[in-house]
Symmetry: C2
């Protein structure tokens, strides 16, 4: 249903075995990339995820560790044979950044459709994905992202029967389609019952843990969050540089009742993030220390 | 004396275990980087070569596989505490490329000194290194580089004695200094005899094997050359894309009587360059298939 690949888990500078920040989300073949640090295309190559069918590239912000892989990736996408336009989405400044970076990727065989997010909460749809943004609190404009895949309401047999819907239309209506039959119009509402929870993934980096994030990420199935510092002794540094400690990310996860937390965007000085796993789990147990190319599949069946 | 590190041996696109093009040359602590593809700073980090003391970054040309690592590297150099100006050298277009790429590396704590090479043969000096450029034959303006470290002439004891040089000045004069003693001036020529061969390293990528390269790389101790294609069946592609086959690189090495050839800048489609080593050695025996971070030290003693 939905496949999530953490392409790179490094912050600031790449270090051996830790590419810079990038996340790939794939839903029924639609691919969304968030951030594109140095090393992104190498991780994609290793995973064999293909380059041609990326539907959009979103940016949290324009620090180099989130953007520097862009020109190389755009050229690799070009080499894959893509001719369809590619959408790039990010906070104010996107046009300036893309114009600058593409000085070494001129004459791409596809158009770039640039969307600068100006409003506080922005929503866009990408095939099955409904994507929202939130304004984060970093040293420059920065967006957090949520990706939701809605699920149709339960099928209500009694309702279908009482509405006298011919059984041959049940599954069509259940999938959200309208049916015109003779002079009658049947609508999905005529067969659908209770709501069912969809899937929600959130990606929050780089930011302080501001209150608005708690509601934004509420009840996510997977919350991918920066953990620039493992040791709470670095809290002053986290405040100054507008980042988070593992503990702060875990508190967000707990308050928001998410299912699982992946920590990412580690400081290059943080040699062994696993050292801080136990104390982080004491706040939010279902914490995973990110590694390049860790993967999760979320399906309705395993919700 | 001189340390050469091939930081990345990939062409076009990075593939697993093959970073994009970059070479680091270090002479008595002076560091020269040529090209700066994606992955350059990772290789430097693995080697522990340090970032602060890079004296200059040279570019062969501005295709992304030679330049995309620049903004990340500039920021990492900034994080290393550098405040001294950094010289960047390359063919026409350097200012445009650097202005574009540094949109994600603004406000560096050191100045960038940009040198666009306009003339056909350009010479500059970097501490002990004498660097020359040559115009290559690629799909856009492209420079080849030679790096020479001259060696003082032999000391000629008979000459020093016949010129009546006090022995206490011999070593000072031998190192190329002038000495004023009482009213007399002693010059290095008064103690120096026959010439001695210095060290010469050449770096040629991306280009067709044009005639002028043969003289430019003549009698190099190490000739680092692109080998985009291993299989001679790709010769039409090499001609069209303005690259070389292994065979063409080996012929250049042979004609120029170089000591050793390192092949680099392999096509991403070339999975196993070693397959073509034997046939390349039949033309020029002392051929090495480049790998990321292969290293060579050249000292006067081993010449």
């Amino acid at each position: 249903m939905i496949d999530i690949y953490l392409l790179g888990c490094g912050g600031s500078m790449p270090v051996p075995n830790r590419s810079l920040t990038s996340l790939l989300v794939s839903v029924n073949g639609s691919k969304l990339l968030i951030d594109c640090g140095e090393g992104t295309q190498v991780s994609m190559k290793i995973l064999g995820s293909g380059f041609k069918a990326i539907d959009a590239i979103c940016f949290t912000h324009y620090h180099a560790d989130h953007v520097a892989g862009l020109p190389g990736l755009l050229l690799t996408i070009a080499n894959s044979g893509r001719v369809d336009p590619l959408t790039l989405i990010g906070p104010t400044g996107l046009k300036n950044v893309v114009n600058g970076m593409t000085v070494i990727a001129p004459m791409l065989p596809y158009e770039l459709n640039l969307v600068e997010v100006q409003q506080e909460f922005y929503e866009f749809r990408l095939n099955h994905m409904i994507i929202h943004t939130i304004n984060c609190d970093h040293t420059l404009p920065c967006l957090g992202y949520s990706i939701e895949i809605k699920r149709m309401n339960k099928f209500n047999k009694e309702k279908a029967e009482s509405n006298k819907i011919p059984t041959k239309f049940w599954s069509i209506l259940q999938r959200g389609n309208r049916v015109q039959f003779n002079s009658e119009i049947f609508t999905p509402e005529m067969v659908l019952g209770d709501e069912r929870k969809g899937i929600k993934i959130c990606y929050i980096t780089d930011t302080r843990p501001i209150d608005s994030i708690v509601n934004f990420i509420k009840e996510s199935d997977l919350f991918i969050c920066e953990g620039m510092y493992g040791d709470e002794k670095n809290i002053e540094k986290a405040i100054k540089n507008k980042h988070m400690t593992f503990k702060e990310a875990a508190i967000l996860a707990k308050l928001s009742r998410v299912q699982e937390l992946w920590l990412t965007h580690f400081s290059p000085a943080l040699n062994d993030p696993e050292m801080y796993l136990e104390q982080t789990r004491s706040i939010f147990y279902n914490t995973v220390i990110g590694k390049d190319r860790i993967y999760k599949n979320i399906n309705y069946k395993n919700l």
